[in-house]
Symmetry: C2
Subunit: 483 residues, 2 copies
């Protein structure tokens, strides 16, 4: 450096403060159980604690770290607490955090092969590994007609799938505008909201989105799907896209992939399979059957950032025919032209996603897979399922509670017999203790509690304590007012 003081954090300082941050994170994980899972801050509290204006002069890094403790920590929801059972998990792990750190340190921009060959080829390799780990059919490998790409989230993957399906249905016409008012997309009443958002973004039109009814287990009814497709064709419309879900967000329902898949094949519709959380389970041979029927799919995604110990964002999106995706998303201005791209011998992942730029996200996934090995990953997935199944047994054996839906894996939907008001109050009181965090859904018009086991350090003891707390607080209701 030519300047004695040029404002940069020099490598020597980076070593010093970087190690403090590493310790800060390790301390955090050692203490995370002590914090209330949901913070007690009110809207505006954190905003008000921060200065009105950016500092004119630089501040010591020690002050920043102090404010991490004093301002930020009291305002975070502790997703990494073993007592976090809400929504779907968003877990992480040491190797993943260090992979993200190296990604930030290398500062790669992986939009094209040329701008980072290692970023591109490590991603291709790791996605091929995952295709094998999940026993995906050959066509989802880069060595065949398809391949995988890391997206930011299942929302991004869903949008790419809808767009490729839209373009394919309109023969990749130069002036495709998708929303000719004729294209019809199919989801179930339980499909994740990101599909509705993708269909809206793609200009298909909300009236052209069909929500197919579900059976008593909240899984899409293939007969209803088939009838609706016939009805739409009869009306002169053009069915083009179906999303089937492996583990819905609401209740972890499993749509019947083989039946839906055969309909998509016979009718020539793009089949997207959303396995955001539960797709991960298929790395264990005994749970692979949840992906039976995936051979009919045109695209599939699951999120290592949910249940595979890899910090957000990391959605793995596989397509059977990469040409359809690339034809949809490729745009090549002069300033990005280069010999490698024009040789056709390389992958440019910018043509597989919405944005041009991309981080080196394959690093964290590579670190996680290498650190745990397939053995370690399966061990933890099985453990989470076993703990959740134990909880489901307790619910079944209870006089006061019932299961609200089947619990095929690590999510248990349950409710107190006391009705919606009791369940709402129960949820509120439970979360107010700070000892755990559960979320809710509505199933068959009834308010339902959800307990999902998937955070990295959740053990049987945490779910045991949760069950005791649930019973205790429900018992207090009993005495007080509801019965």
């Amino acid at each position: 450096m030519s300047e004695p003081h040029n404002y940069h954090m020099m490598p020597k300082e980076f070593r010093h403060y970087g190690k403090q941050v590493i310790d800060w994170i390790a301390d955090y994980y050692e203490q995370v159980e002590k914090f209330p899972v949901l913070p007690t801050v009110k809207p505006g509290d954190i905003y008000a604690k921060l200065p009105d204006h950016a500092p004119q002069s630089g501040e010591p890094f020690a002050d920043v770290l102090r404010d991490m403790n004093d301002i930020i920590l009291p305002g975070v929801t502790h997703w990494q607490s073993p007592n976090f059972f809400a929504f779907f998990p968003s877990n992480t792990s040491g190797p993943s955090i260090l992979g993200e750190l190296l990604s930030a340190g290398l500062g790669q921009q992986g939009m094209m092969w040329l701008t980072s060959p290692a970023c591109t080829e490590l991603e291709t390799r790791v996605m091929d590994w995952l295709a094998d780990m999940l026993a995906l059919p050959e066509q989802f490998h880069s060595t065949a007609s398809g391949g995988g790409v890391i997206q930011d989230s299942a929302s991004g993957a869903a949008l790419c799938a809808v767009l490729a399906a839209r373009e394919q249905a309109t023969d990749f016409a130069a002036n495709s505008n998708g929303a000719n008012g004729k294209l019809i997309a199919y989801i179930s009443t339980q499909t994740h909201s990101s599909l509705e958002k993708a269909v809206k973004i793609a200009g298909i039109g909300s009236a052209n989105l069909r929500r197919i009814t579900v059976d008593e287990y909240f899984a899409m009814r293939p007969d209803a799907l088939h009838r609706q497709i016939q009805r739409d064709r009869h009306a002169g419309l053009v069915p083009f896209f179906v999303c089937a879900t492996v583990g819905t967000t609401s209740s972890n329902a499993m749509d019947p992939l083989p039946e839906i898949g055969r309909i998509c094949r016979d009718e020539g519709l793009w089949m997207h399979v959303d396995g955001a959380m539960s797709g991960t389970a298929a790395i264990c041979p005994e749970y692979r059957h949840f992906l039976n029927g995936i051979e009919y799919a045109d695209s599939f995604c699951f999120n290592p950032h949910k249940w595979l110990f890899t910090n957000f964002d990391c959605d793995c999106f596989f397509v059977a025919n990469r040409a359809a995706l690339i034809k949809t998303l490729s745009i090549l201005p002069e300033y990005l032209r280069n010999q490698a791209t024009e040789s056709g011998a390389v992958i440019d992942y910018r043509d597989w996603q919405i944005s041009l730029g991309r981080r080196f996200r394959a690093l964290k996934l590579w670190f996680v897979i290498r650190h745990y090995g397939l053995e370690g990953l399966c061990y933890h997935i099985r453990r989470h399922v076993q703990i959740a199944q134990q909880f489901a047994e307790w619910i079944k054996a209870s006089a006061d509670f019932e299961l609200a839906a089947p619990a095929p894996l690590n999510l248990v939907c349950f409710r107190h017999h006391g009705g919606d008001d009791v369940n709402k109050q129960l949820l509120e009181r439970l979360n107010k203790t700070g000892k755990l965090y559960l979320s809710h859904t509505v199933l068959a018009d009834r308010f339902t509690l959800r307990l999902c086991v998937g955070q990295t350090t959740t053990e049987e003891s945490h779910v045991c304590a949760a069950w005791e707390l649930i019973q205790k607080i429900a018992g207090e209701f009993h005495k007080l007012k509801f019965f």
Copy 2:
């Protein structure tokens, strides 16, 4: 932990390996100038060095770090080298890397206020700081009608802008399908490719995208824009969206915001301003004039991950009227309902972007602004501009080279007098030395070299050495074959 060996990297190991990774990164920055900026690997080299299958058992972290050196490092393009002058920069800094590290460590999921109040409110505050730093009009602040949100990239921001404009133009109709074949979007022939992609994604149709001609400095011609809007209205079409650029990717051309803005105001069109790289310069009062006219804009974005020492991904997207954006992108399923959201007292940033999930990206931006202070940030922006201007002077004074476009800030477009073939070969030979990395564009049908000064540690000495190398290699041509 209840298991003696449960495959996790425990906090003690995390401290150990984390500090090794911190040192690895510091070592990297100390050595980065020694590596060829562009790697010499061939397509498939890295892929072939990686095992065919994921490991069955976990591997020592030391092996992973070894492979970072042996496999990954030889395959990366060194974006963080001070001799990287290609494309636009994608710079970073110590505080940014540590902010990203803490974001990964905390493992927050900031989709809603409730799921991380601190993630939400720090972002709101930092975006308000930036609105002040750029002297954006009041309406772009969260305290007024609009506000800012961190997007993954300018591509994501452009898509959000196009979508909000589409919905506004169709009165937020429940079944808006956008691509009714009537909506017309306007960009210039020089606008970034992400706008073309956004218009395609939104289902507007490529035939409904107008590329307005530019003047001799490659800036959009407002008269041509105005005439085209009139022509389209006359044909019964519905103009709805214009993108103006502050610093085009090709040549850093500045579209005339005030003139374009007045047309958008008079015609009722959504005006998006893309300042991906050059918007950053507006934090320096002497460069703020490049944003004159921003008061007419409905949305604006710039990328701290390009030129503000914050690692990718970090695009700052501001809207004047947040209601239009939220009405466009909000979808609320039961399993995400909560009191905070329903109170209306909080921001749920998932309604400001394409995806549901989001990282705690405000941390790195907060760290960078606090570490450098406005003073330090301005110091480096000014320094980059001065160095680039010095290079432009050398080009102007040279007998063999000429400027290919004005150089208002830190990008210099230039060419040798020898014609396209000489310039193509010159570029190839320069980049093959490994001593620098330049990229190219085509301006007025002529092959043009681009030198952009924006990486964190680029000093005058690096640009001096680049100019010497350019002259030397051009001189060898002189002797050999071209003249």
